[in-house]
Amino acid sequence: MNPQTYAPKHAMRVMGHSGHETLTWDKPDSPEAREAARVFIEHLTNGGAAAVETPTGRDIIRRFDPEAENILLISPYAGG
């Protein structure tokens, strides 16, 4: 495997105060995917949302999909 051309199959980006962090995994049953699932559940528990790329655009998901190619965790928001 060439590390310069290697790109993980699945990625999840998590917004934070220092910009987003990216969690990646290759296999749905890998420890990296389980860690991403844990972060996903924690984020939604705290009121956040998650968007995923679909062939027709973007959609909100409420369950972690380890097969999704690109997930973005959106911070919770409220009226000011």
Binding site: M15, H17, A51, I60
Partner: protein, 148 residues
């Protein structure tokens, strides 16, 4: 006879002082500092990635324009959103809405954009409508018509 400074240098570094500055850059001590500094740039790149070509054109004007069937939104970084009813364009509203995390400005604008695009009714329910303004150019709160 060696000077006092040379004796101290010999005690600290050995017989030869190290090359380069005595204090390394902070990023050499902790590489996470570079990562933190690059946060706004990464946020801007993410916003550009998630924006359509038409929306990308609006960003240099200071607004991110998002259009839905009923409203036209002008999102400013930092949590303020102006919206204009397309059926009643002489008025616009100032919506106050903030991300609950401390985010870079571009990420905060992206949160608002996706909230509007993915679940507009919830966004309008949560956002506080602060005031309604007539489109008066002399007003402090006037949102200029941007040429795009």
């Amino acid at each position: 006879m060696a000077s006092f400074a040379e004796v101290i240098a010999d005690m600290v570094w050995g017989s030869k002082p190290p090359e380069g500055p005595a204090w390394p850059k902070r990023s050499r001590i902790d590489p996470r500092i570079d990562h933190l500094r690059a946060g706004p740039e990464r946020a801007h790149a993410l916003l550009m990635e998630y924006s359509s070509p038409a929306q990308r054109e609006t960003i240099p004007h200071g607004f991110l324009r998002v259009e839905t069937t009923g409203y036209r939104y002008y999102i400013r970084t930092g949590g303020s959103v102006y919206t204009m009813d397309r059926n009643n364009p002489q008025f616009y509203y100032y919506l106050c809405v903030h991300a609950l995390q401390d985010l870079p400005g571009a990420d905060e604008a992206l949160v608002m954009k996706l909230a509007i695009e993915l679940d507009e009714p919830r966004f309008l329910y949560l956002a506080n409508r602060i005031n309604t303004f007539r489109r008066d150019p002399s007003s402090t709160y006037f949102v200029p018509d941007v040429p795009f």
